[in-house]
């Protein structure tokens, strides 16, 4: 029997980490993810885990320590937010290029400036091309479930890539929700033991990690790394299937909500999907065929599957809680439009920037987006496709 609890998103992540009992955690506190290493260090002090907790002096050091520990052969985890993730930047690319299956809980927060500590997705979206797998979570339950699956995905022999599990800062990280936890022994069995083929502490096979990689070979290594990301698609589904057998909770690349017969739809990530579902339900009650696609897996990006899921939609709004300053929209918008090209042409696509710097996303805002889509379906007039919602002026 699973355990019914009430936990905040940060508590849920800390509990998952306690149950995983990693060999090493190296972390530096930053709002809103601070509570994760704080709770976890209590588990360490209480002797509830056997983890070596490394209290580092910065996030650059946190990721460096994670890289060293994982290369040594230790299962390693960390957590951060916003500028903390930005300070890890250099090392994020090195972790993925060295094929080290580190797991990181990213509690999404606006990347300064202007100085702001509230939620948007500019931190993890900025790291989208760093070679990390990215899973996003609508709720505390999803954050917990994604982190348990992340271990299986990262350490799979066909993948060996680091995984970032994202949830919305304050909105999910600090709000207490009902949650179903697995028993400790079931988690232990599900994640299994970390058994790398090659690691620095193996005295029977001395190895060199991170050597100079000049033009004769670096390109081949990058191609191999790209293949790992391609392979991850299959592995992520396999891990989800096994997790479903254990918990009854189903995970895929994305969640389709009222989408199969939808004429208008929204693509969205993380907690605002909950708000959007409420609005979609209300519109359905009024006979409007409104649907929603919530992306769980952003890296690798499920382009073919998204095109298939959206091919019958007439008008679509892709919601971005991050700017990319391309003067044409945000990162999710760019990926979704690219996915549709040549596979589901003819769909009218808007790209909205919303909720930057922690601006509340209200049901009214989402309803306004759906109303714009209805107007496009009715009139065929699309107008400006790069839009902001919820901003004054």
């Amino acid at each position: 029997m699973s355990i019914r609890e009430r936990l905040s998103g940060n508590e849920a992540i800390a509990v998952a980490m306690r149950q995983i009992n990693p060999d090493v955690v190296a972390a530096f506190p930053i709002t809103p993810s601070t509570e994760i290493p704080q709770y976890f260090s209590q588990f360490v002090s209480n002797g509830q885990v056997q983890t070596e907790f490394v209290a580092v002096e910065s996030e650059h050091s946190a990721m460096s320590a994670c890289i060293g520990a994982q290369a040594a052969g230790a299962r390693t985890m960390t957590a951060t937010s916003a500028n903390g993730l930005a300070l890890m930047w250099e090392m994020l690319y090195i972790a993925s290029a060295m094929k080290l299956p580190i797991t990181l809980s990213c509690v999404n927060r606006a990347l300064s400036g202007p100085l702001n500590i509230h939620n948007d997705h500019s931190d993890s979206m900025g790291a989208r091309d760093s070679g990390w797998i990215q899973l996003y979570s609508e709720t505390n339950q999803e954050a917990y479930d994604n982190l348990l699956q992340a271990i299986r995905i990262a350490e799979h022999k066909d993948v060996l890539l680091p995984v970032m599990v994202c949830q919305d800062g304050f909105i999910t990280s600090h709000a207490v929700e009902n949650i179903e936890l697995l028993e400790d022994d079931k988690v232990k069995e599900f994640v299994g033991e970390y058994k790398p083929d090659h690691y620095l502490l193996n005295h029977k096979e001395p190895i060199a990690v991170g050597p100079l990689d000049l033009p004769a070979h670096c390109f081949e290594h990058k191609r191999e790394q790209a293949q790992s990301m391609i392979n991850a698609k299959k592995v992520i589904l396999e891990a989800a299937k096994e997790f479903e057998k254990l918990t009854g909770r189903k995970y895929e690349y994305f969640e389709k909500y009222n989408l199969d017969d939808a004429e208008i739809a929204i693509v969205i990530i993380n907690s605002s999907a909950g708000t959007a579902k409420t609005v979609a339900d209300k519109l359905r009650d009024n006979g409007i065929k409104a649907g929603l696609l919530k992306i769980r897996m952003f890296r690798p990006f499920p382009a073919d599957e998204i095109a298939e899921a959206l091919k019958n939609v007439k008008a679509l709004a892709v919601m971005d809680k991050a700017e990319s300053y391309s003067a044409m929209g945000g990162p999710v918008g760019a990926e979704v439009k690219s996915a549709l090209y040549g596979k589901a042409d003819g769909i009218k696509v808007l790209n909205y920037i919303y909720g930057l710097g922690g601006r509340d996303v209200r049901a009214d805002d989402i309803e306004e987006v759906y109303n714009s889509l209805m107007y496009i379906v009715k009139t065929g007039q699309i107008g400006e496709t790069y839009r902001y919602i919820g901003v004054r002026g």
Partner: protein, 104 residues
Amino acid sequence: MRGKAKEMTPEVTWQEITPGGTIYETGNAEGYKTGDWRSMRPIWIEEKCTQCMLCPPVCPDTAIPVKDSKRLDFDYDHCKGCGVCFKVCPFDAIDFIKEEDKEE
């Protein structure tokens, strides 16, 4: 899968190359000759050398071989010409010249 440094030929394909660039053996730097990076060249003046042993441990490239507690001539295959040995020598037993000024 090719895992040893000598197997990393210019022909190795991405399917055969080791993930992450890891080499499944150590001591690989010896096989990579960095002497041609040098623009300055240290010259050991054996008659002034007292074998005080200050220079071998400061060499970042282990390019001052030591045998039977005595230093030998520079390993020019690996010396990058940083000049640290020249700075540390108290007996002017190491000269430091431009690479192009060396006597053939």
